[in-house]
């Protein structure tokens, strides 16, 4: 028995390292899960007279996708978001983060907009209030305005199916 101990210790270590190897270091646990989504009021892209605030969404389960026209991996998920906007009822709000070159309106009219509303966070402060570290990041917010989930990185059909759909169902969307 005794001579197996080093092997067992070795295997346990390998187990930990293997797990660590497949973790995504970008997936920093968000301190907002279970807390109220930070309030903000921002003008909407393409219409400076209209504004958007999370309070407008009270009573609805909704998804906030933080994106930017300069963000390459946001293009990756754009097609999927377009399809989701058509196929499922949960509204997707697209926070336009630090769009200094003011390209969002043009891009959305060229490629289509999957968004229910596109609040314009030019300074990036709202992004910081939500703990955004890079685009794209996507939050699921429940009927009471509580953040229930955060996903870092582009959404793929698989991720939507495995991560978002069960959560949205659970929240009664």
């Amino acid at each position: 028995m005794k001579r197996w101990i080093p092997l067992i210790v070795f295997l346990v270590l390998v187990g930990f390292f293997a797990k660590g190897l497949f973790l995504n270091p970008r997936e920093v646990p968000s301190p907002f899960i279970g807390k109220s989504a930070p309030a903000f009021t921002l003008p909407v892209v393409g219409d400076a007279n209209t504004s958007f605030s999370p309070a407008d969404m009270k009573g609805k389960v909704w998804v906030m996708n933080v994106w930017a026209p300069w963000c390459v991996s946001c293009r990756q998920e754009h097609g999927l978001l377009m399809a989701l906007a058509q196929s499922q009822p949960v509204p997707i709000v697209g926070l336009n983060w630090k769009d200094k070159d003011r390209e969002a309106a043009q891009l959305l009219s060229d490629q289509g907009s999957p968004y229910f509303a596109v609040p314009d966070d030019l300074s990036g402060k709202v992004g910081i209030d939500y703990g955004v570290t890079g685009t794209p990041e996507t939050y699921v917010i429940d009927k009471g305005g509580i953040v229930r989930m955060k996903h870092v990185g582009p959404i793929s059909p698989d991720i939507w199916k495995e991560k978002f759909e069960p959560k949205l169902k659970e929240l009664g969307a």
């Binding site: 920093v28 968000s30 703990g131 570290t133």
Partner: protein
Amino acid sequence: MKSLLFALMLALVLPASAEEATPVGEDPVIEQRMIKLSEELRCLVCQNESLAGSHAELAEDLRQEIRVQMKAGKDDKEVIDYLTTRYGDFVLYRPPFKPLTMLLWFGPALFLALGAGIWYFTLNKRRNLKETPVDEKQLAAAAHLLEDNK
């Protein structure tokens, strides 16, 4: 001639050093505090860099935010609270002491105790080792074997 050259060189050198001496930030005290604090904080974009040393845009924004808050009279703890409510304890290079991080803080001591325990018991076992009795017959057999192999 020599002194002329010296004056020329001096003229070249002086403005350069004068330029270097001007502080980068508007308020050197706040700048110092900001840099000191942000060296303890992690940049969230390039996670191996401190907030002070990172060139990422988000790091720049956060440094600016720290400046603004310090100027508004907030102390270091309040600024850190501002960041941890948004980004979690992950921004801190020194993990805070709380139930979740107990193992992190006591882990090394735990392993040291474990090692000391193993060491103690091994020594103890060795101390209690009894000499194996060897009788004449066995000695003779051993001598015989050694003879044979010569």
